[in-house]
Symmetry: C2
Subunit: 137 residues, 2 copies
């Protein structure tokens, strides 16, 4: 947004326009990035890429996630409108989670990032080893 050019408080000569984390846009964007950086969210989003899944189905697919964390992660994604939660009042109960259009949209940039990460993992790990070696010596 090109927010109006209000000459703020005339405090400092010129405030940086974009990089202020307190700025609304930055904070909003950061909150989305935080979700991506979330330990489990990305995995869940990827799992749901090929159709709806049930709770325990997801739990089994994502090896290592606790029931609690899966619930919290799904709630967070649901809250952000990225997945839908559908309850089938059967016995035993059944709940399906499915990506929304918004969630599917997020998949692309996330995949791009994941692709980049996979492509450069070698370089990064090499850099880490080098750094650790230099520093531990």
């Amino acid at each position: 947004m090109g927010t109006s050019l209000k000459p703020t408080h005339t405090r400092s000569p010129a405030l940086p326009p974009l990089p202020d984390p307190q700025h609304v846009d930055c904070r909003g964007v950061a909150s989305v990035l935080a979700r991506v950086g979330d330990k489990w969210s990305v995995f869940v989003i990827m799992m749901l890429g090929d159709g709806p899944k049930r709770f325990n189905e997801l739990k089994r697919m994502i090896n290592g996630i606790s029931q609690r964390m899966l619930t919290l992660t799904l709630r967070g994604l649901e809250r952000d409108g990225l997945v839908t939660r559908t309850i089938f009042p059967t016995i035993p109960p059944r709940v399906d989670y499915e990506l929304t259009d918004l969630g599917r949209g997020l998949q692309q940039p996330v995949k791009a990032l994941g692709q980049w990460a996979a492509d450069h993992l070698q370089q990064i790990e090499a850099a880490r080893t080098r750094f650790d070696t230099r520093n531990s010596a």
Copy 2:
């Protein structure tokens, strides 16, 4: 939506090949995503987009970051080979941080993600409000 018309859940008795977070690739990718999800890393990477910056220059640009956090963030980025640290043994001392080629490469997918976040922030915030309203009632 267009997901293939899977007749059933074809419950595979075997283990899923890709989505195991314990798998090396997944963990590696996750570690990169974690860095992106880091509260400050993305800001720093963006700040360095237009040339090298000094420590306090960055600190001033990123409103709200503490000295400690900036140091830790920069160390992490340096460790991953995303930024370089150049010391000028002058008085007073001067240290320049600059994006490496690797770091510049990471900028693109990150920008794409940031762009998506900015584009859909309205939708997400609306979803959050709706969810919170429904749930608090």
